[in-house]
């Protein structure tokens, strides 16, 4: 579902946004600790992370509301580090939309144009165009309180893009909405910004939203970017347990790793698993504590007596719970040392397993990814 088909700037083109060593301390406590990020023109980049990981602080520094302690912010090749927010020419959509309650939708959208002293007739035309873009033609005379949550969101979008900003910043703009509306608006926001070819920096803590909307996702942890990549990169090739845990559901099998140049072995008690080179994701891992991250769909739940086919690893487990989820069944399992694991099977299979069954879990030696533990 990730939007890889968007027109994204050529490799040689000047990036739309460059952050270098961006740092913010609050009374000595680092909220953002030396961040580097390059965003290509037309790209949709999501800053994803738990609350307090520094993603909102980063966005506010890009907008100019918060002054960085160190590092630089370059927008379209211009150093904006010391430029006040009203001269940065970036559009922002706030979590609560921040529509001016004393102005109509049209007046809200006209505001940035008036600030730029655009001629009256041109303002009128561009406001009409912006309203048409967000499919709100005819709603211009309404006040924000006379609009639904979704309509307010669209007015906020129109207001943020009508002046042709160099960047579009969004701070959890869908956070306040219910799930159904949120999903509809995710697609809308994607559609609108793609239509404009806008460069978008999007902040959210919702990993599903990030996967659906972004060209690339930056996973934030403790004021740093833990991993930057496409949704597929993050899902299939997480660089750490933190990323694996944050994106999607995963099983984490901890053990001791011994490399042999091309792959290696992971041992855990009496179990010894072969690590295929594909599961190393092209990275070197030092011998020692490591963990195998396996997505539930790669874990096969088998009867404990079955013969193990070549190129597969296995571990015993007990079925704790089988949950019917419509298209699939989720199988919650307990490993011999008490840790939990999750498997999935098609609901059409008829439900072979029952709570309390002893089973064997197996996976291909090239599935999942092995990362250092700790």
């Amino acid at each position: 579902m990730s939007a890889t088909s968007r027109p994204v700037g050529e490799a040689g083109q000047r990036p739309a946004l460059v952050l270098r060593g961006l740092t913010k301390h609050y009374g000595g406590v680092p909220a953002v600790a030396g961040l580097d990020l390059e965003v290509r023109r037309g790209e949709f980049v999501t800053l994803l992370g738990p609350s307090g990981s520094g993603k909102t602080t980063t966005l506010r520094m890009i907008a100019g509301f918060t002054l960085q302690t160190g590092g630089t912010i370059e927008i379209d090749g211009v150093d904006m580090s010391r430029v006040p927010p009203y001269r940065r020419d970036v559009g922002m959509i706030f979590q609560n939309y921040a529509l001016f309650p004393h102005m109509t939708a049209a007046q809200n959208i006209a505001f940035p144009l008036e600030m730029r002293r655009v001629p009256r007739s041109e303002i009128k035309r561009r406001v009409a165009d912006a309203l048409a873009l967000v499919k709100l033609t005819g709603f211009g005379e309404r006040y924000p309180r006379q609009l639904s949550g979704g309509q307010q969101q669209r007015v906020a979008f129109a207001r943020a893009v009508v002046f042709g900003p160099r960047l579009l910043l969004m701070d959890e703009p869908l956070g306040a909405l219910d799930k159904k509306l949120r999903e509809a608006l995710q697609l809308e926001v994607m559609h609108f910004s793609r239509q404009l070819g806008a460069t978008v920096i999007y902040v959210t803590h919702d990993q599903e939203e990030a996967l659906v909307m972004s060209d690339r996702i930056a996973i934030f942890r403790d004021g740093r970017i833990e991993q930057l990549g496409t949704g597929e990169d993050l899902y299939n090739r997480p660089v750490s347990l933190f990323v694996a845990d944050f994106i999607g559901e995963s099983n984490i099998l901890r053990g001791d790793f011994t490399g042999n140049g091309d792959g290696g072995w992971l041992t855990r008690g009496s179990w010894r698993w072969q690590v295929g080179s594909a599961s190393m994701a092209g990275r070197e891992i030092a011998d020692g504590a490591a963990a195998w991250v396996i997505r539930p769909e790669h874990l096969r739940v088998e009867s404990s007596g079955a013969a193990l086919s070549d190129g597969r690893n296995a571990i015993d487990a007990d079925v704790k719970e089988v949950l019917y989820l419509g298209a699939t069944r989720k199988i919650e399992l307990t490993l011999p040392d008490g840790q939990t694991a999750v498997g999935r099977e098609s609901a059409e299979a008829g439900g072979i397993w029952r709570s309390g069954d002893r089973v064997r879990l197996s996976w291909a030696i090239t599935d999942g990814v092995v990362v250092a533990d700790g």
């Binding site: 940065r88 559009g91 609560n96 921040a98 505001f111 006040y143 002046f163």
Partner: protein, 265 residues
């Protein structure tokens, strides 16, 4: 609802409310018929009805100039204290400077210090500065009394204002000045107007400070009433009181209108 109506709490509430009305509102309201009295002296109930005291009020120069003086002083006081009180509120809510809580306490002190103390203090100083008996002196004094009301009303508006709106304005290209004029000020306007109306009222019916700072040549309406009541007790003063009450009530109704018109955020 019908059960709670007979509960002891309810009975107590009604009794207390009734007493309040009796002792506060009734004395105010009996002034009204007294002004329409046919009697030559201030009595209640009036023996008959006439409009002669209203005629006297509207034709007697002492009353008409008193009215004009009061209206002028109250209007200028409202303007001066609204400007200063709004600026004070901005400083108190948004500013960060040493001695802020002391400044806050000083600005609010006229609410706490007995008015007679303020009046004597102002009189001693204003005599030296030679601004007693002038509109300037009275406006300065009344503004000091009225600024707290403006500041409290505006500060409340500022504290409930969503800061994101000001950030949005800046993000959209408005500098600090235009952010204030186009976003902050329109949104705190209800508080500013309410403060202005309260400032007007503070001056409009103020008598203690005004007695000290006015002279026979320059009197406000409340002072004129005070002087007249002490000398002649004819019902004109009841007619004037009714008019003062009418103005006050009108201004208070305006406060309600302003509050209702406030944009819902």
């Amino acid at each position: 609802m019908s059960d709670s109506w007979r509960s002891p709490n309810r009975v107590l509430l009604v009794a207390l409310g009734g007493l309040t009305v009796f002792f506060l509102v009734v004395p105010t309201l009996i002034i009204v018929p007294m002004g329409f009295s046919s009697s030559q002296i201030l009595t209640f109930p009036p023996p008959g009805w006439s409009l002669q005291w209203y005629e006297k009020m509207l034709t007697d120069r002492q009353w008409t100039t008193g009215f004009l003086n009061s209206f002028q002083v109250a209007t200028v006081t409202a303007i001066v204290s609204t400007v200063l009180g709004t600026m004070a509120a901005l400083g108190m809510v948004r500013g960060r400077f040493p001695g802020k809580s002391l400044a806050n306490a000083l600005i609010l002190s006229p609410l706490i210090v007995p008015v007679i103390v303020i009046a004597i203090g102002m009189f001693s100083l204003y005599v030296r500065w030679k601004i007693t008996g002038s509109i300037v002196g009275l406006v300065a004094a009344h503004s000091a009394l009225a600024i707290p009301f403006v500041m409290i009303n505006v500060a409340t508006g500022l504290r409930t204002l969503d800061r994101n709106l000001e950030m949005a304005a800046q993000n959209l290209g408005a500098g600090p000045g235009r952010t204030f004029m186009r976003v902050t000020f329109p949104l705190i306007l209800p508080g500013v107007l309410t403060g202005a109306l309260f400032a007007f009222l503070t001056s409009w019916d103020e008598v203690v400070v005004a007695i000290f700072l006015t002279t026979a040549k320059f009197r406000t309406l409340p002072v004129e009433m005070w002087e007249q009541v002490r000398q002649v007790v004819d019902p004109t003063v009841a007619a004037v009181a009714t008019m003062v009450l009418a103005v006050t009530t009108t201004v208070l109704l305006l406060v309600f209108v302003v509050r209702r018109q406030a944009p819902a955020t």
